[in-house]
C-alpha cells in the first residue's frame, strides 16, 4: 500500500497508487522505485529540477509513454484499485478517465467549439443539445466562456496564449474525467493568466483529482494540497505542501526550495 502523508492516511482515499515503479527509456532508467499515492479530490504538485522525471511519471499515469519506442517498466500503477497494466484495461477508455493538459498549449486547428467537444466526438456523441451544454459548462469552468461565447465557431488560433491554454483545459475536462494531469500548465503564460488558471484548479478540485507538475514554488504553495519532491528520478520527499515548504525533512528538499541548488 503506497503511502500518503501521515495525517491524510485516514481522511483521504488514495485514488492513484504508484507502487514501487521503475521506468526505462531504452537502456536509461529514468524513474527509480517511485512509491506514492495521490489522494482523491486533492491537488498534488510534483516539483524537482529539470530532467528529474516529473513529466515521465505524469505521462505514465495515462500511458502516454506507450507511444515511445523501447520503453520498459517495473512495478505497478493503480487507478481506483485496478492496475493500468491489466490486460483488460483499454488504453482509450483509460485516457477518457485521465485527462491531460500539456506544458505547451496545443489546440487543434479547428474551431473553439470543435476543440472543446473533441473527446465527445471521438466517443461518437453527436446530440447537438448535449454538445452545446458541454461546451458551455466546460468553457465556464475553464473561465473562458465570457471571452469566447460570441466566437465559438472561429478558429482556436485566434485566441491569446493564455486563452488557448484555458481552452486546452476546457477540452481536457469536457468529458468529465476523474483525474486531471497538468504538465507545467502555466509555463508559457503571464502572471494574470497564471492566476486565472490557479483559481480554476482550486475550483476543479471538488470534482477531479489533480496532479500538476510545476517549476514555480510559489504556485505549488498557492494551489497544491500536497507536494512531492523528485531528484534524479527518485522520490525524495512527499508531504503536505505547508510542512514540506516550512519544515523539509531532507537536505536536498531544503536546498531546492530555498533556491540553493545547482
Amino acid at each position: 500500500m503506497p503511502p500518503l502523508p501521515a495525517h491524510l492516511q485516514t481522511s483521504a482515499r488514495p485514488f492513484i497508487e504508484v507502487d514501487h515503479f521503475d521506468f526505462w527509456y531504452g537502456p536509461k532508467q529514468v524513474l527509480h522505485d517511485i512509491h506514492l499515492a495521490f489522494p482523491e479530490n486533492h491537488i498534488t504538485a510534483l516539483i524537482g529540477p529539470s530532467g528529474c522525471g516529473k513529466t515521465t511519471l505524469l505521462r505514465n499515469l495515462n500511458r502516454m509513454n506507450d507511444l515511445v519506442d523501447g520503453i520498459r517498466h517495473r512495478g505497478d500503477i493503480r487507478l481506483d484499485g485496478t492496475s493500468l497494466y491489466d490486460p483488460k484495461v483499454e488504453v482509450i477508455s483509460l485516457r477518457k478517465r485521465v485527462g491531460m493538459v500539456f506544458q505547451k498549449y496545443n489546440p487543434f486547428p479547428k474551431s473553439i467549439y470543435e476543440n472543446v467537444i473533441f473527446s465527445l466526438r471521438v466517443a461518437g456523441r453527436s446530440d447537438r443539445r448535449q454538445l452545446d451544454e458541454v461546451v458551455e459548462k466546460s468553457l465556464r469552468q475553464a473561465a473562458l466562456w465570457d471571452e469566447v461565447k460570441d466566437k465559438l465557431h472561429e478558429s482556436a488560433f485566434g485566441l491569446s496564449g493564455g486563452q488557448q491554454q484555458r481552452l486546452c483545459i476546457a477540452r481536457a475536462i469536457a468529458n468529465r474525467p476523474q483525474v486531471l494531469l497538468m504538465d507545467e500548465p502555466c509555463a508559457a503564460l503571464d502572471p494574470i493568466a497564471t492566476l486565472k488558471i490557479e483559481e480554476l484548479m482550486t475550483q476543479l478540485k471538488d470534482e477531479f483529482t489533480i496532479v500538476i507538475v510545476t517549476h514555480n514554488m510559489e504556485q505549488a504553495r498557492r494551489v497544491a494540497d500536497l507536494t512531492a519532491f523528485f531528484y534524479l528520478g527518485k522520490l525524495i520527499e512527499y508531504d503536505e505542501t505547508l510542512s514540506l515548504f516550512t519544515q523539509p525533512s531532507q537536505i536536498q528538499t531544503e536546498a531546492y526550495i530555498s533556491g540553493r541548488f545547482s
Binding site: 519506442d69 487543434f108 486547428p109 473533441f118 471521438v122 477540452r171 481536457a172 468529458n175
Partner: protein, 621 residues
C-alpha cells in the same frame, strides 16, 4: 567560413570579404537558369500568340518575267534571313512568305531573294480565307456565282455582306452535317452493330430471330434516310461559288460554303485585328483539328489531356495517401521501411517510358486482354476449386484472428508469432483470391463477341491514366509523408490524450492538418502527368481520335477509347506532319497552351503551400 568564425567581422567587413565573389558566383548560376527559363517562356509566348494575330498581306512584284509580264505573288512575310550562296559564298538576303493557296501552288510557303523583288505593295482588297480543305487562301475576290446565270461582282457594295451571309450559312450547314453524321448516324451504327452481334448468337428459331431482324431493318432504313439527308446537305454546300483571282492573275473558283472564316487583313483597324485575334484563339481552343492536325483547333487534345489528368489524379490520390499513412504512421522503422522508402524515391527517377512499357505489357495486354477474353491459360477446373476453397478458408481464419483482437487495445504490442501468422494468412488470402480471379476457367471475357478486335485489350484512356498514376505515385507519397510530419507532435498527443484511437487521431487531426500539403503533392503530380508524353504514346494516345472519351452516347464514359493529348500533339505536329513548316504555328500555340496549363497547376501548388506555411506559423505560438 572558418576564418569568419575565428574573427567575427562587422557587416561592412562582411560585404568586402572574400565570400562576396562566391556569392556572385552562386547568383550567376541562378541567373543563368532564370534567363534560360524566362527566354524559353518568352519565345514560346511570343511565337504562340503571334500565330493568332492577323498579319498584312503584301503583293510582291518580281524582277523575273512570266508570260510577258512581271511575275507577281502575294503572301504574308513570315521570316527574314541571310543565306550563304552555294556557288559564290556570298551572303544573300532572303524572305520567307506564306502564300497559302496550297491547291494552286502545291506549297504554302516560298522563299524569295530580296534582290529578285522589284516592288512590294499592300493592296487593300486582299482577302485571307480559311477553308475546310487546302488550308488558307489569299486572293482578291472577283464575283459570287449563285447559279449559272445569277452572279454578284466584287465591286458591288452588297458583295461583302453577301459573302459573310453565305459563309455563315455554310458553317451552320456544316455543323448540321457533323451532328447528323457523327452523332445520329454514329448512334444508329452502334445499335446496328449490337443487334448484328445478337443476331449472330441468337438461336436459329424464327420466333427469336424475326423481331430482331425487323428491328434491324427499321434501323437500316433510318440509317438510309439520315445518310441521304446528309448527302443532300453536302450537295447544297456546293451550290454558291466564289470566283477569285490570285496575284499571278489566275482565276479560280471555290464553293463558298467551304470557307470557314475570312478577313481583309490590309483594311483592319487595331480593334479589328484584335477581334480577329480573339476569334482565332477561341477557334483554336474549341474546334476540332483539320487536315492532319495542321489546321483548325485542338479541342480534343485539350479535352483528352484534361480527362486523362483528372482520371489519373482520382486514381493516384487515394493510393498515395493510403500508402503514405501506412509508411508514416504505422510501419515500424527498420530495414524494411528504409528499403521501401528508397524504392519509392527511386520509382520517381525511373524513365517514364519504362512505365509506359510496363503499362502496355501489364495493363493493356494483361488486364485489358483478360477483360476482353478471359484468362489465356485458365486453371483446370479441379485445381481452380481447390484454390478458391483455399482462399475462403484463409480469409475466414484471418478474419477470426484479426477480429478477436480488440482494436481499442491496438497500442499494446501483439506477440510476434501472432502477427506473423496473421500477416501470412492475409497475404495468402490475397494471393489465392488473385489466382482464382485471374485463372478462372468459367470467365470468358466481357467483350468476347467483339473479338478479334480488342476493346480493353488495346491502348485507351483508362490504361494511360493508370500508368501515369503509377508514375506519379511517389510524388504524392513523398508530399503526403512530409505533410504528415509537419503536423505538430503536441497536437497528435493531445488528440490521443482526449481518448482518440490512433486511427481517429490520424483521420481527424493529422490528415486534415496535412491536407494542404497533400493537395500540393496531387497538383504537382497532375502537372507532371499532364506534361508527360512517352508513356502515353504506347498506352493509348493517338494523333486523331474519332471520338471523345466522354460523350452523350451511353455509357457516357468510354474508358477504353483512345484519346488525344497536348504533349503528343506537339510531337505529332512538329515531327510527324507532312508539312512541318505549315504545322509550326500550331506547334507553338499548342506548346504555349500546355506550358500555361503546367504553370497554372504549379502556381496553384505554390499558393497552397504558402497558405499552409502561414497556417502552421499561426499555430506555433
Amino acid at each position: 567560413m572558418s576564418d569568419a568564425n575565428s574573427n567575427p567581422p562587422s557587416s561592412a567587413a562582411l560585404l568586402s570579404s572574400k565570400g562576396e565573389i562566391k556569392v556572385w558566383l552562386t547568383a550567376t548560376g541562378l541567373n543563368v537558369g532564370l534567363f534560360m527559363v524566362a527566354g524559353l517562356l518568352l519565345l514560346i509566348t511570343w511565337n504562340g500568340l503571334s500565330v493568332f494575330w492577323p498579319q498584312p498581306v503584301s503583293e510582291f512584284t518580281l524582277t523575273s518575267q512570266k508570260d510577258g509580264a512581271p511575275e507577281k505573288i502575294a503572301g504574308i512575310i513570315t521570316k527574314q534571313q541571310t543565306r550563304r550562296s552555294a556557288a559564290t559564298g556570298q551572303a544573300i538576303e532572303e524572305i520567307q512568305i506564306f502564300t497559302g493557296n496550297r491547291d494552286a501552288y502545291g506549297l504554302a510557303f516560298r522563299f524569295l531573294d530580296q534582290s529578285s523583288l522589284a516592288s512590294t505593295t499592300l493592296p487593300s482588297d486582299y482577302i485571307v480565307a480559311e477553308r475546310s480543305e487546302y488550308g488558307k487562301a489569299i486572293f482578291t475576290p472577283v464575283r459570287l456565282e449563285f447559279s449559272a446565270t445569277k452572279s454578284l461582282p466584287a465591286s458591288d457594295p452588297t458583295f461583302l455582306p453577301e459573302l459573310h451571309r453565305l459563309v455563315k450559312e455554310g458553317n451552320d450547314r456544316r455543323a448540321e452535317i457533323t451532328a447528323l453524321e457523327k452523332h445520329e448516324i454514329g448512334a444508329i451504327n452502334a445499335r446496328i452493330d449490337k443487334l448484328e452481334i445478337r443476331l449472330r448468337k441468337a438461336d436459329p428459331s424464327p420466333e427469336v430471330r424475326a423481331p430482331l431482324e425487323q428491328e434491324l431493318a427499321t434501323l437500316r432504313s433510318e440509317y438510309t434516310t439520315l445518310a441521304s439527308q446528309a448527302t443532300t446537305l453536302r450537295d447544297r454546300q456546293k451550290v454558291e461559288k466564289l470566283v477569285y483571282r490570285l496575284a499571278s492573275g489566275e482565276e479560280r473558283n471555290q464553293a463558298v460554303a467551304e470557307i470557314i472564316h475570312f478577313y481583309q487583313p490590309n483594311q483592319l483597324t487595331l480593334g479589328g485585328r484584335f477581334k480577329i485575334f480573339l476569334h482565332h484563339a477561341l477557334a483554336f481552343l474549341t474546334e476540332e483539328p483539320r487536315e492532319a492536325n495542321t489546321e483548325g483547333g485542338i479541342f480534343p487534345a485539350i479535352f483528352g489531356t484534361f480527362v486523362m489528368t483528372l482520371l489519373m489524379a482520382a486514381l493516384v490520390t487515394p493510393l498515395g495517401i493510403i500508402a503514405a499513412i501506412y509508411l508514416h504512421e504505422y510501419a515500424k522503422p527498420g530495414i524494411m521501411l528504409q528499403s521501401i522508402r528508397v524504392c519509392v524515391n527511386n520509382l520517381a527517377g525511373v524513365p517514364s517510358i519504362v512505365f509506359g512499357v510496363f503499362g502496355l505489357g501489364f495493363f493493356v495486354y494483361g488486364v485489358g486482354g483478360y477483360i476482353d477474353h478471359g484468362p489465356t491459360y485458365p486453371l483446370p477446373e479441379r485445381w481452380w476449386f481447390l484454390a478458391s476453397l483455399g482462399a475462403v478458408v484463409t480469409l475466414v481464419l484471418a478474419l477470426l484472428l484479426t477480429l478477436k483482437y480488440s482494436p481499442t487495445q491496438a497500442l499494446q504490442p501483439k506477440s510476434k508469432a501472432r502477427s506473423f501468422t496473421e500477416n501470412t494468412l492475409w497475404i495468402s488470402t490475397a494471393l489465392l483470391t488473385l489466382l482464382t480471379l485471374a485463372k478462372c476457367p468459367y470467365f470468358h471475357g466481357f467483350f468476347a463477341d467483339k473479338l478479334p478486335s480488342p476493346t480493353f485489350g488495346t491502348g485507351g484512356i483508362l490504361w494511360a491514366s493508370i500508368t501515369l498514376s503509377l508514375m506519379t505515385l511517389p510524388v504524392v507519397i513523398v508530399a503526403t509523408e512530409e505533410a504528415l510530419s509537419a503536423v505538430p507532435r503536441g497536437v497528435r498527443e493531445a488528440a490521443l490524450a482526449c481518448g482518440a484511437s490512433k486511427w481517429q487521431m490520424i483521420q481527424r487531426i493529422a490528415l486534415p492538418g496535412a491536407l494542404p500539403g497533400v493537395m500540393t503533392g496531387i497538383i504537382l503530380a497532375m502537372a507532371r502527368g499532364a506534361g508527360e508524353v512517352a508513356p502515353l504514346m504506347i498506352t493509348g494516345v493517338v494523333k486523331l481520335a474519332p471520338s471523345l472519351p466522354l460523350d452523350g452516347i451511353a455509357p457516357f464514359i468510354h474508358a477504353e477509347r483512345k484519346f488525344m493529348h497536348l504533349g503528343f500533339h506537339i510531337f505529332d505536329l512538329g515531327f510527324q506532319s507532312p508539312d512541318s513548316e505549315a504545322a509550326k504555328p500550331m506547334v507553338f500555340a499548342t506548346t504555349l497552351l500546355l506550358i500555361f496549363l503546367v504553370v497554372v497547376l504549379n502556381l496553384t501548388a505554390i499558393q497552397i503551400r504558402s497558405h499552409l506555411r502561414r497556417k502552421l506559423q499561426a499555430s506555433a505560438f
